[in-house]
């Protein structure tokens, strides 16, 4: 699980006591729920504070605005997704195995946390800079892994960055279809089929 509620709050508003930190954590968890269920614009601050069990004014003790909170959440979730995948992939014998494991981990994360997934994607229309940051960071790491594997001779030659974008796009859509819309296969089944496509290619041999 990701630990909401540490780097999230801006300096002047950061809580100074244990009670304050508890409240911030409650607010962030409530916000993840509210934003996940209703989307950014439908979500109401009163909805968040009601879920958290605090008064409206308390929200503004710790956050400057609805959007500031949203940005903080997206950053936390971005970290959480990448950490989850990175942990799953650590120790994979080679890159093709890592691809399969990583994709399965991603889909199972999406399935367990559809809210987080929706929040990150909605950021494209609410806080585009944070959204770009998320994928640029993701692509950067992914591209390095591909480059390293390429240099070790584990995969064929090819453009690392473009491959990273292509593979991430694939994952995001497979996550939407097989993670959220209609989970009619296990994450492992989906990953096996997708990685077969990516490693063997469409060309007939």
């Amino acid at each position: 699980m990701n630990d909401l509620g540490q780097a999230a709050v801006s300096a002047e508003k950061a809580p100074r006591t244990e009670r304050g930190r508890r409240t911030v954590r409650k607010l962030l968890e409530a916000a993840a729920q509210e934003f996940g269920e209703r989307g950014f614009h439908e979500a109401a601050i009163t909805g968040i504070t009601a879920r958290a069990g605090v008064a409206l004014g308390t929200f503004y003790t710790y956050f400057g605005s609805k959007e500031e909170l949203f940005r903080a959440l997206v950053r936390d979730m971005s970290d959480a997704v990448r950490a989850h995948v990175a942990e799953a992939v650590a120790g994979a014998p080679d890159r093709l195995a890592a691809e399969r494991i990583g994709l399965a981990a991603f889909i199972s994360f999406v399935r367990r946390h559809p809210e987080l997934y929706r929040i990150i994607e909605e950021a494209q229309f609410v806080a585009e800079d944070v959204y770009r940051e998320h994928y640029l960071t993701f692509v950067d790491g992914y591209g390095r892994n591909l480059a390293a594997a390429r240099e070790r001779g584990e995969i064929s030659d090819g453009p690392d960055e473009l491959r990273a974008w292509a593979l991430i796009g694939m994952s995001v859509f497979l996550g939407m279809r097989y993670g959220i819309w209609k989970p009619d296969h296990t994450p492992e089944q989906v990953a096996d089929m997708a990685i077969d496509l990516v490693s063997e290619g469409l060309r007939k041999r």
Copy 2:
């Protein structure tokens, strides 16, 4: 170009004269601009009518609500994208060539119409049913093409639907990165690189 302004309006509100049809067309074009630049929630009806050069009340002569207009637009654009790609692909010698041509056509469409692209993606959070309809339709057609090519022996065996989702996801993200965010390669270059990945695979040979 897509022709906005025909199936878009609901029956009782459809214009009956040439003047009315002109007004509807102006409203739809203005709406595409306004939604594209400001997003659904930031977009204001007064912004749309101002761009169209008509009074606020005129909007409600032809549309029941802001969301009804948005849905009509998304359907029009969905048709426009698919038509554009289908036309480009018609007459390709084989499936792998069709993939390359289709992807290049998609990216160049996105580059010429970033608004349309943004509007369809935002539909995920404004009118999810229309969004699903868009991709389900897209995947359906794509999957059929893959199945036919597979049966003709042009590509290797594999699951058509999952492949369609994977390839579409890839295209959407490549469209975002190389079509909108940073168009530092031509659509043809991007398509060549991506289709090389998809047809040859990552495995070293």
